[in-house]
Amino acid sequence: MTTVLAATGVFSEQALTALVAGAILAGVPLMFAALGELVSQRAGVLNIGLEGMMLMGAYVGFVAAYHGSSEWLGFGAGLLAGAGVSLLMVLFCVRWGLDQIVTGIAITLTCEGATALIFEAEFAESRPTLGATDKVAIPGLSDLPVAGGKGESNGSIFTQPLVVYLGLALAVLVAWILRRTHMGLNVRAAGDAPGALDAAGVSVFATRSWAVLFAGALAGLGGAFLAIVGAGLFQDTIVGGRGFIAIVLAMLARSRPLWAVVGAMLFGASLSIADWAQVAQINISTDFVFMLPFLLVLFVLVVFGRRAYLPAALALPYERGTR
């Protein structure tokens, strides 16, 4: 009898809903960051500073949401903070053609130091937290079992903060822009053949600068989401390597934004499964579950992928006049 109860408990509607909700909660920040990184990589700039930009977005977003008591203020501030940090990348890597990997690592280290420093100086004693975020329940669909999530604390697919839906719409928009519009063609050309883009009379600098700024803004937004919706607080380890995971996701997505979304959600799901297994008292190591997505990807790379596609001019600064 007890085993039956345990089984119904674990696979109950509530538990499964929590599983789905957890996957989305963990996946959305990765989705934002990976989406930005993908555009930046497509334009030929490998943005290793993503981790730092997320962290800065998380901090500034949290502070703005806390003082302004509005999550939208937080998201906006996080977005701007991420874009602000990426200005460094624009200046160093796009304008001056300095090494992108060195600059990226420098940005990550500096942001880690800076956010910890300011946070400690400002909130050393109080350690404030934020309340729950408002969610939008899509009429009709939110009444579905498991996927609906109406009335659940973390919602489910059809009950999420508005920013999640906006993010998904943005992913579709980015996919469409990259594939179907002139602007997308410019971005792709900046990564594949910057010389040709320049010859066509489009500024490589401008195209790449906007792409890098976009990446920074989205990374900042992802960080802000982590702090405001995900944790409701800030701590210096909040990003915890997610920036690097997003870089890997963007590279694996092979410049198809919707794949980045799928990858981010898959990764979020594995994080969520770890929690779920703990609740269900299934004896499986959380460390092992965290490893799974990477093992899976490595397996796919070894067996099928072989040559992951990357833009030809990735991490190459463009200098006019050098062939």
Partner: protein, 389 residues
């Protein structure tokens, strides 16, 4: 830029890009100052401004860094910190000179540490101490090297970008290390997820003369000597042997290496294995010399700290030693100074990041005035372009 026909290759104007750098207009001293000293000065200066801005006396802070990192017995802690950092630096120099990015240091480091702290405390009863320690060093090096095999093979055979694969391997490595520490290597006498601590006498012995009870010196372990020896070995390897030359050719241009008939895939694998081996040794010095056990949540993340130093020293295995000493001092003394000033120890991270930013900046200035570049980026850029061609 992506045009990579043989004719275009011939038309390329000769540019001074050798690793030692050209000193066209700038004297050797000026060049050294600009590229290797100025970034540090600027970073410390900016750090001081930040300290003033948050209301901390910068002079007192830097004094505390000195006293916390050098005075009394602190210099011994600093020197012991040198051992792992120098070994990691040396490992990075090998791959960077070969134009390869190994960004998976933390995974290699933690996994090697987990394996030796797990099996070491079981061996110690059965083996004489010296043999046990030597064996553990070799095992740590082998584990570190083994963790680079997948990225190495993927790059050598399929030209798969090593930045992605090493980053993924580092995540897998960190988690696997935790699984090992919590699972098979768990110390059964405690509930804390950690390995069984080594017997104190089973740890690395001190360098003779550094131990003194009257002055309260605990002693500096011999891992430091291992690290310094490794630096000399790598310096010799890279500058005096044919393997070193072949690796440097690979780093300068993968295409040239192919034209010269070098076995490029094999060189890539050798470079990766060597770097992983040294990172594994770094883990051994930290576990066998300082920690004596490993907790599951322990991750010093030395990897990113060392990257700037290696560039400041222009990928010179002996030249990097003073920088490593400085960083060790800053990290040991920084903890003390930060505590004194009521700051987070992460402030040191900020200084390291700023150093790297200013280094990129002065590199840009130096390239304009003196030409030449020691960053692997230059070669990396070229071989990416070639790979695409």
């Amino acid at each position: 830029m992506t045009e990579t026909t043989a004719a275009a290759e011939l038309r390329e104007p000769p540019r001074p890009r050798e690793v030692t750098g050209g000193q066209a207009q700038l004297g050797r001293g000026g060049d050294f100052f600009l590229r290797s000293i100025l970034p540090l000065v600027l970073a410390l200066g900016t750090g001081a401004i930040i300290l003033v801005a948050i209301g901390v006396d910068p002079i007192q802070y830097y004094k505390d860094v000195y006293s916390g990192g050098v005075q009394f017995a602190a210099w011994q802690d600093s020197l012991m910190r040198v051992a792992p950092l120098l070994l990691i630096a040396v490992g990075l120099i090998v791959v960077f000179r070969a134009g390869i990015w190994n960004l998976g240091i933390d995974g290699q480091f933690l996994l090697a540490a987990a394996v030796i702290s797990g099996i070491g405390s079981r061996f110690e009863e059965h083996l004489p101490n010296t043999i046990n320690l030597l064996l553990l060093f070799v095992i740590a090096g082998a584990v570190g090297a083994a963790w680079t095999i997948v990225p190495a093979l993927l790059k050598a055979r399929y030209e798969l970008n090593e930045i992605i694969t090493t980053l993924m391997m580092t995540f897998i490595g960190i988690n696997l290390a935790q699984i090992l520490v919590k699972g098979p290597f768990q110390d059964s006498s405690t509930t804390t997820p950690q390995t069984r601590a080594f017997d104190f006498t089973a740890l690395l012995p001190s360098i003779p003369g550094t131990e003194s009870t009257s002055r309260r010196w605990p002693g500096v372990h011999v891992g430091l000597l291992v690290a310094v020896a490794a630096a000399f070995v790598v310096w010799f390897l890279m500058s005096r042997t044919s393997l070193g030359l072949r690796l440097q050719v690979l780093g300068a241009s993968m295409r040239s290496a192919r034209h010269m008939g070098l076995d490029v895939p094999r060189l890539i694998i050798v470079a990766f294995l060597l770097s992983g081996f040294f990172v594994g040794l770094a883990a051994a010095t930290e576990i066998l010399g300082v920690k004596g056990y490993q907790r599951a949540d322990w991750n010093p993340a030395f990897g990113l700290w060392v990257v700037p130093l290696v560039f400041l020293a222009r990928l010179h295995a002996i030249g990097v030693i003073p920088y490593v000493v400085l960083l060790s001092l800053a990290s040991i003394g920084g903890d003390y100074a930060a505590q004194n000033a009521g700051l987070t120890p992460q402030f040191t991270l900020l200084l390291v990041g700023l150093t790297l930013l200013f280094m990129a900046l002065t590199e840009w200035i130096a390239r304009r005035t003196a030409g030449g570049s020691y960053l692997p980026g230059a070669s990396y850029r070229r071989h990416r372009a070639e790979g695409a061609g």
